[in-house]
Symmetry: D2
Subunit: 346 residues, 4 copies
């Protein structure tokens, strides 16, 4: 079987997560979020976020978390602002619109939103005398790290937050790969800082060592009224909530979540080096996703040997390709890649 | 800790399901439904259903499965017919309406729909000259077994199916607890027969030994076009689809699914006997859910000793209470119940 | 052509309404609600309601007004409580559900909701430990007069309002035929009193002398934020808002609205007498809709001579039929009815 | 009072439309689309379109028509492709998203969609292996004339239609100002040709001489099943449908609709000349909307004398402004404009 760098969800659970599922399996528990492990995980996350009053809900996946949070925090008539390349705008099959909300798009800068462009948009919006005929913006959505592996600086996030406060917008950070962003050597803030600089965010589990699960955090205890009901209405309430609770309990014990993230970044850095040594250029990314520029010939050659995803055509002759690491990436995987690159055509 | 008969989702996974998760954990795989175990599970389910062409999708939970299937099979303007007590009408926080579809209700007969009442409703509907001002019925939804533990006979299902065909309605069977219905001694058909007598149904995993997961089956390969897209739009597509695939692969190996169901029914039958011997009446139910009629005094007395759910008040002095068994119910649990009933006030 | 008692929308505009359209036609104006007649009409309605701060919006039709108001005042996850026979539950093609809201039904008592049953429902709802899995009630909807021509007493409305306040529900009165209710000799309150006993209501124009138009009134200036945007989102904002503004300006000049209503009730009372003299029973209704119990033979006989609507079968041999009067009903119409009844079979 | 060129909906009905409302007012009629004038208007439109089998529905306004048609023709999970500047994308408060459908945007070329860009988008979409995670395109929406007054050539429309056929997309033409496009001297096709080159379009009445009303035409009798129900569900079914029927009956008698359009274009052409003679540049537009480039000083100067709309800032010093003509525009209006421009600062 070929070595795969296709994604960070092509593997099982981190062994310690799995072990916790095994060791708790025979205990009876409450359901629908009231099990003991969900409660323990919530406490550990509150501590990690330094948010003792945080409301925390465990949902199953990223699209579900995005759709539920956005619908839960917006008024029916409001839209959510995101960059053109945002996951909610491209790869969620219209889940946000399914709840009646428009995704209002701004330009993407390597996956990121520019605070000044956001402000200019809002200023222009409210200066337009016909704005009551337009979709009222109610929230700003960013991903951290972005779909392209880039990360925001603290200053960039502060700028966006400042605009949100000025225009009374909720600020939501999609952290499907949060660990990889925070563990990046280029990141100039930590989890507690992030929790203090938004209205809601989620800690992605699926892509960071769990089998499934995203922890939605309302840092100030500011979950919308009846949010559990909203979760249920979105088909996102687990009967056996222990499934998510146990996994997050493991992830937030002994810093496992960040241990996993650091491991993946270490392997991603090694992977970058392997490509660079082979004379193949990559886009900047300090996280576990690496975007490699291959000629179409190189792409076909490599695809015969290694599994990875094509991301998007660069031009008629070149393809941007994505290589992703995770807790499950080993030195053997990297060796297989090195070997495959050995005689790659230039 | 008190013995719990609260639900069939207050426990972990059946040991063989868990074991399969453990033994497959280190294998890399495709995602979003294309992993090898999902494919294997689909084949095994096709065989069990005697539907070689069936389209099968694994979703996470029951409400999600219901909302996705109903929205996927209806035209925007159509509604779904269900009995008053149906799960989609009562306990899904309006997930069906969230997609714009009305739940049109008929009377419940111990949780069941009456084929003749269905026909009378439809006949009256189309005889009403104002019917274009009403919600056009597009589907019939029943649960098997019902929320009250009762089951339909083959004849009753045939009657409903016959009406559906005559009025061009889709027929959807919610099988959140399907195993317990089919394994019941009173059931006069099997899985293959059921698959041949509806347009879509699902095989509940969450409540029958899995940690999560429902297998939605379109027996004739009749999934709506782009159903995967519809699943994604509902936030119901697992990135690590192996989580559901592995579990259903285990459940449909060596008849485990029905083994679990039979075990639970055996324990439920024993539980019935324990109550009857104590002189306490129960509603008829041949499945793993037992509905017990307690005086309020008895209820309070028993609640101090055993965990169970109150279902609904019968009158000012009596409460209908639910006791549920599962793969995890043991003889020790039953003994604890017997002991607790020993000196129960009459 | 046969005389028609089919509805109160089978005619044109009241002559004074039409005249105002003609005399204002050549004046240029603002649009989207800012025209001078809309503003004048709002002032006149505020005066009539004794609500100087009322927010008032003119929408085109009843279903549109209901769907827009309900969606505008509810949170996404909330439902609206109505009786089984309510227009929003039966005859609006699921317009409320189209915005994602469930219609929660209570029994109908001659078209009316019972305040005590409402309270019992809410008490039971919040006593149910699973209520977070159910649709949270957010509003009570009643029609005045009801679909069956009946009217609430002040005491009955106070009871419902009291329950709404206690359970923090919005109270919405659908006044598609408001004039006929208020002008009824049995009504023990007036427009100003009504405006003081609900959160929002509308004054129906379409069925009371206009070509189209319903005036939605938020008596305390309590329109939801951005309600104009909500109206636009529902496709309910008239570009040439003068169309509605001019008509309501006419209707609320010199008491025309109630003049029309009294005329129709006078004719309805005469119509009742005609049926009673012919020995044909009617349901109680003090408004402009009369519900007549005909044998099927009588119904067929009369349908050959007069236009009216069948409402619903009473039994195998009898049909409930609806006869409606309006500003356009004349003594000639009544004479034609008398004549048609002359030799009706018994 | 200042002369207004603000819009083509700042006036009443064309006198012949109004006259028809007056002369039919005292006739009783059927409702909900079954009145005699709606039927007559449908026949006249069928003749004008040379589509004897066309299904035709009269709705009240443009946003309502767009939302209802798009929702009625799309599957729940599909989106509609439009240019960035399209009315449905900018000025309908999210009415399309309110029904759950994403507006997928392409670049605007003076308000127009480019057939080649459309094809490239679709080719790229289906070449993307993740397209099942994206919104499936189901329809192409264009406006004729566009929001910027430009018009498509027959060749451009054929190109788009060709792509639609190839990718199985519905093709919808929003004709809120249809008459002005067809009556333009630059238009190289007529109404019948247009009707033969799309799946659905509407003939705008509100902006072309009526008080309200848009005639939605399915040229091949291809209205979706139960479209009347869909219309009702969108709150768009007029009880007194005569209001729309009578107006369209007048508009399609003796070519009135195109007479109105030609009149407005004649006045728009004169208005262009007035600006050009004053040395003020305009954007190209062969229809009744003219887009004038004013300095901010000129804009302020002119606004003190004449009513018009600012469209959007061109740069820090210039504003694009919109001047619109209609049936109600007179030579006196044009003289007032000339006079106002006399001493305008340069």
């Amino acid at each position: 079987m070929k070595t795969s760098f296709e994604s960070d969800y092509n593997n099982g659970a981190h062994p310690l997560v799995l072990q916790h599922l095994v060791e708790t399996n025979n205990t009876q528990s409450q359901s629908y979020g009231f099990d003991e492990w969900s409660e323990a995980a919530r406490q550990k996350i509150r501590t990690a976020c330094q948010c003792p009053d945080a409301d925390i809900f465990f949902l199953v996946g990223g699209t579900q978390a995005n759709a539920t949070v956005i619908d839960g925090m917006l008024q029916t008539y409001q839209g959510v602002i995101a960059v053109q390349t945002a996951h909610i705008n491209v790869h969620e099959s219209g889940a946000v619109e399914a709840s009646g909300h428009k995704v209002i798009t701004l330009p993407s800068h390597g996956g990121k939103m520019d605070g000044k462009e956001l402000e200019a948009y809002l200023k222009g919006f409210y200066a337009d005398p016909t704005y009551e005929h337009m979709v009222i913006p109610g929230m700003v959505y960013i991903t951290f790290p972005t779909e392209l592996g880039s990360i925001y600086s603290a200053k960039e996030i502060e700028e966006i937050l400042h605009v949100c406060r000025r225009y009374e917008l909720k600020f939501f950070i999609d952290g499907a790969r949060l660990g990889y962003g925070l563990a990046s050597s280029e990141c100039d803030f930590d989890l507690a800082w992030l929790a203090g600089h938004c209205d809601v965010f989620y800690i992605g589990g699926t892509k960071v060592g769990a089998l499934c699960g995203e922890a939605v955090v309302f840092p100030a205890g500011n979950a919308p009224q009846h949010f559990m009901n909203i979760v249920k209405r979105h088909g996102a309430l687990l009967a056996k909530s222990r499934l998510a609770g146990v996994q997050f309990d493991a992830l937030f014990t002994d810093d496992l979540y960040f241990h996993i993230a650091r491991h993946a970044i270490e392997k991603a850095t090694a992977l970058r080096d392997i490509f660079l040594r082979a004379g193949i250029p990559l886009r900047d990314s300090p996280t576990n996703q690496q975007f490699v520029e291959l000629t179409n010939t190189q792409k076909d050659y490599l695809m015969d040997r290694i599994l990875f995803e094509t991301w998007e055509p660069i031009d008629a002759d070149h393809m941007l390709c994505r290589f992703v690491t995770s807790w499950a990436t080993t030195d053997e995987h990297l060796s297989a890649l090195s070997k495959a690159l050995k005689d790659i055509p230039s």
